[in-house]
Amino acid sequence: MGDKVRSLKSALDIVSDGSHIALGGFAITRCVMPAVHELVRSRRRRLTVSQTIGGLDTDVLVAGGCVSRLIYAGGSLDRFGPLYAVSHAISHDEIETEEYSSLAMTLRFHAEALNLPFIACRSLLGSDMVEPLIEAGTARIEPDPFSGRPTLLLTPLRPEVAILHVDACDADGNAMLAGPTWTTRETAFASAHTVLICEEVVESIPPERALIPGLVVNAVVELPGAAHPTAVAGSYDYDRAHLEEYADLARRGAEGLREYLDRHVLAAAV
């Protein structure tokens, strides 16, 4: 069993300007904040970010000017508000987006994990999301070869580096987490390189609890409290005061977002 435990900096060396990364957070839960802060501080640029549901992680990364393309199914900060930086960047033409439904994102990761040339999906038909995706070359509507009915086909989605939060893993990256898993596992299997940010590195985990096998993990970073100020089921709650501070600043636009980065990202040293 390999020892894949790394420092955050060393684990993120693989991300360079123009990389395609995947983030595993969902709105206000399991966002990999220290990794996002590190990417902002090291001034990574022109990243493509794939994420099923965008959350605080993606919003801060966009606020930091690191992202040029976002592939997602939308997102929010739940009742704390919309993805402020993402909305701002879209309306100022600072980032491009490819928008899907949650299932379409899930199936694109799933198709890549299976090395399929494409995958059929019964969503998106009739919606205004389809046309831009056909133009982007990631979706087509074709007759089902068996029944002849219109079928939506999606290309697989392969991020270069996935950065995912888990509760605990061993030094090889066999990982477990509490609560629902949305697309955490599919993202790990679909990505060329997977970095786990874990609350705790343990000697071993019960094999039946292993959501992600260490075989598909390349690096493990132990950072207790890593998802703060977002929640981790069974471990800690979201930090209401912090999220309200973010929303209050972000609502003010670019200048407020810069103030947030100054206070909580650029000032902090790891």
């Binding site: 709105a27 439904s101 899930t106 019964r122 009739g126 919606s127 999301m129 609560g179 697309t183």
Partner: protein, 253 residues
């Protein structure tokens, strides 16, 4: 009229449309309160699911959204989106979807992506999440939306989630399997959606049908014999909403 807020009567009226044998995929916002209310009153056997991979929770109040672990309280199984949106929803096992909307139209299509402002600027909103998946595949869909004129359109600015007809095309023609939107529940009325369009099925207590139609900027017809009047929220329902399902009034006040 009445000792309740618009949000409260919306939650109550939507909950009345949840059946005891429904398997419900619950979207973010007021649908969370409506689904939990149904479960605590007339539909104790209704099963709730959340797109993250949550099966059959008994949600606690004060949750900030579907990503708040409070919403997952007492779940019977955890999995992921492949299981909930794939195996359960696309697999045809979800009888009812409960969704919110930024904008809706006469055929029940939902816009949750963007609005075009008067000056032509596009303002972004939450986006689909699992909403498009629910509208595509659930047996029927209830859309819970505030009765504000800007929220109703003859045709939405952007179709995030398809209703019964989209630009003249029917669901079967488009390849959609689920039944599509069956009703819009607002703080003034229940609007039934069918392949022929929108019908004012019921108005809430104290509302005038003609006035509601006049203040709903989309084609909306009256049923033969006129609309029904929705049930008055009971004290039990209001106590549940205020005491445990939405004690801070985030969704209903």
């Amino acid at each position: 009229m009445g000792g309740w807020s618009g949000g409260e009567i919306m939650a109550v009226a939507a909950s009345h449309l949840v059946a005891d044998d429904d398997v419900v995929l619950v979207g973010i916002g007021l649908p969370q309160v409506a689904a939990a209310l149904a479960q605590r009153t007339h539909a104790p056997n209704a099963r709730l699911l959340l797109e993250l991979g949550v099966f059959d929770p008994q949600p606690a109040g004060e949750s900030m959204g579907i990503a708040d672990p409070r919403m997952w309280t007492d779940s019977k199984a955890y999995a992921g989106m492949l299981e909930v949106l794939g195996y359960m929803l696309q697999g045809g096992r979800i009888s009812l979807g409960l969704l919110g909307a930024l904008q809706v139209d006469q055929f029940g299509s939902i816009n949750s992506s963007l609005v075009v402002e008067a000056d032509g600027r596009r303002r972004r909103f939450r986006g689909s999440g699992g909403g498009n998946d629910v509208a595509s595949a659930a047996g029927r869909v209830l859309v819970v939306v505030r009765h504000e004129p800007r929220k109703f359109k003859a045709a939405v600015d952007f179709v995030t989630s398809p209703g019964r007809r989209i630009r003249g095309a029917g669901r079967a023609e488009l390849g959609l399997e689920g039944g599509g939107t069956s009703a819009l529940v607002t703080d003034r009325a229940v609007i039934q959606i069918g392949d022929a369009g929108a019908v004012l099925a019921a108005v809430h207590p104290g509302e005038d049908a003609e006035q509601v139609v006049g203040e709903t900027p989309m084609p909306l017809t009256l049923p033969p014999g006129g609309p029904a009047v929705s049930a008055v929220p009971t004290q039990v329902e209001l106590n549940l909403i205020r005491g445990s399902l939405d004690p801070l009034g985030w969704y209903t006040r």
